[in-house]
């Protein structure tokens, strides 16, 4: 048992070390991107959009941008690590070890959560100077950040297992992850949408991650944080179950 725990913790350490060694690309670059969004959207929209009473648009934007960065980077961590190892062939070092599918799952997802949180903290530290969103319920903030990052880390594992080429992974990222994050209410409240699109937004699990996360800052949200928690928790359970079963069967990695 100790051997297994150490094996999983080594894989976790290796995955964290991997992104940390290229932190300029994996941490600094997404922080800069978020700052660009803040500068452009914050400047253009701040006088035109009032989402909640007593919350400025720039302050509203901060949690959205932080959570979007958390989610995208958590996904990028597990998916890019796995596809690189598959294509370069060095995944064999891991395949030859006694690590169980659970160890793979825990290590890849936990390291994705760390990457997501590190980037999220970086984005928060920079964007908070544009508009302070406050902090009403910190536990909700941490809970949604961790659950959201874990869900995206697990999704990244599925995408990394499935993809055989970089362009397949890029397609997954550009046609699934990006639209779902952009249409989840990062830049707006869904209450400003027509009823039909409000309904559509409620089918997007990303909406609940961002809405619940935002509740922790403002104490107001489009839906109850408990509902968001239920949706995000259920999505995490379903995606995790699928990921673990794919790892167990060696989907596209053991032939």
């Amino acid at each position: 048992m100790n051997n297994l725990l150490q094996g999983a913790s080594t894989l976790f350490y290796k995955e964290v070390l991997r992104f940390w060694k290229v932190a300029f690309q994996t941490v600094a670059a997404p922080v800069l991107t978020a700052v660009m969004y803040m500068l452009i959207f914050g400047h253009v929209m701040s006088d035109r959009v009032q989402v909640y009473d007593s919350v400025s648009y720039t302050a509203f934007l901060v949690p959205g941008l932080v959570m979007m960065s958390v989610l995208q980077n958590a996904f990028a961590n597990s998916s890019s690590s796995l596809i690189q190892s598959k294509i370069m062939g060095n995944l064999v070092f891991l395949l030859l070890t006694p690590l169980s599918h659970w160890a793979w799952f825990v290590a890849y997802v936990a390291s994705s959560v760390v990457r997501g949180l590190v980037v999220g903290l970086g984005v928060f530290a920079v964007t908070v100077w544009f508009g302070n969103p406050g902090c009403v319920a910190p536990l909700w903030i941490v809970l949604f950040a961790v659950l959201g990052a874990a869900l995206m880390g697990a999704l990244g594992l599925i995408a990394g297992l499935w993809a055989e080429k970089f362009d397949q992974l890029a397609a997954f990222q550009n046609f699934v992850i990006m639209p779902m994050t952009f249409l989840s209410g990062v830049f707006y409240s869904i209450h400003s949408l027509p009823p039909f699109w409000q309904g559509v937004s409620h089918l997007n699990p990303f909406f609940y991650m961002i809405d619940g996360f935002r509740y922790g800052f403002f104490g107001v949200s489009d839906v109850s944080p408990w509902v968001s928690f239920g949706v995000v928790g259920s999505a995490l359970a379903v995606v995790s179950a699928l990921t673990v079963s794919l790892l167990k069967t060696g989907y596209k990695i053991r032939h």
Binding site: L11, L17, L96, R254
Partner: protein, 290 residues
């Protein structure tokens, strides 16, 4: 199509066992099944009693596999790669053994170098070190000397032979038959997924043609002679059972208007045995196909 068919053999503990066969014979597939990289559709493979499918963790802990492909992780330096590999197997505080591996494989001065900066030969040494980092009792080397220089071969074989003397079981696949002859006490030969020979190296050599007639010619041999010969550039070799056969071959060469140069008669080696076995297996396969 079956990559492996009815393959069945045991390797004794402490043995230095060779797995030979032409490209596509199934050697790497067999090793992949052993390593858990490929799942066999039937049959069982045990490593010191542990089934590679049902008890994979125990089986993999006993195995140290040097893969054939020259792969590496570009994010890490040599020492980091070895520490990480050690950690996967749950071996903590392994720096003494890692230092011994680095020294034995001539890697000490590259320990802090990034994997990307290493030459092909150096990367190969790291692959060997990674396979041995958890001190596995069974070492599997899948064509470890393909495309590497003489110095590395010498270093590698001295080190592996030392480990074998210390009790490690070694399974080697190679296309360098002189290496297999020198190192392996027992051999299996595979062709088209089937075992076509399985015996000790000395028995296989004893069963071969007694002698080989070897000479050089400047022109092409007549086809009636060429079909019986092994030709490598200017070098021609004929298996010969006795002096009469040797005389007959030389006479035929002379009658064809050719001059045999640097004529020598040598004992048959493993390469001759290998070709003989593969030819016979080919004929048998052709016969059964009809």
């Amino acid at each position: 199509m079956r990559a492996l068919d009815g393959v069945r053999f045991d390797i004794q503990e402490g043995e230095f066992f060779g797995l030979l066969g032409p490209n596509g014979a199934g050697k790497t597939t067999l090793i992949s099944v052993l390593a858990g990289l490929t799942r066999a559709t039937g049959g069982r493979v045990l490593v010191q009693g542990s089934d590679v499918q049902t008890d994979y963790a125990a089986a993999r802990r006993k195995l140290g596999i040097v893969p054939q492909e020259l792969v590496f992780d570009p994010f890490f330096n040599v020492r980091e790669a070895l520490r990480i590999q050690s950690g996967y197997f749950g071996v903590k505080n392994n720096d003494d053994w890692i230092d011994e591996l680095l020294t034995s494989l001539g890697l000490m001065d590259k320990a802090e170098a990034n994997m990307r900066q290493l030459s092909g030969g150096m990367k190969r040494r790291v692959l060997v070190a990674q396979a041995l980092v958890h001190k596995p009792p069974v070492i599997v080397l899948d064509e470890p000397t393909a495309g590497v220089d003489v110095e590395l071969r010498q270093t590698l074989w001295q080190f592996i032979a030392k480990l074998n003397r210390q009790g490690h079981t070694v399974l080697l696949t190679t296309h360098y038959l002189e290496e297999a002859e020198a190192l392996c006490s027992r051999l299996a030969m595979l062709k088209a997924g089937r075992v076509v020979a399985l015996a000790s190296t000395s028995e296989l050599l004893k069963g071969a043609s007694a002698n080989v007639l070897r000479f050089k010619v400047d022109s092409e041999l007549p086809s009636s002679l060429a079909v019986k010969a092994r030709i490598t550039g200017r070098i021609v070799q004929f298996p010969a059972q006795n002096a009469l056969e040797i005389e007959q071959y030389l006479a035929a060469v002379r009658e064809a208007g050719l001059e045999a140069q640097d004529v020598e008669i040598r004992k048959a080696d493993l390469e001759d045995v290998f070709l003989d076995v593969m030819n016979k297996a080919g004929n048998n396969n052709a016969g059964s196909a009809q």
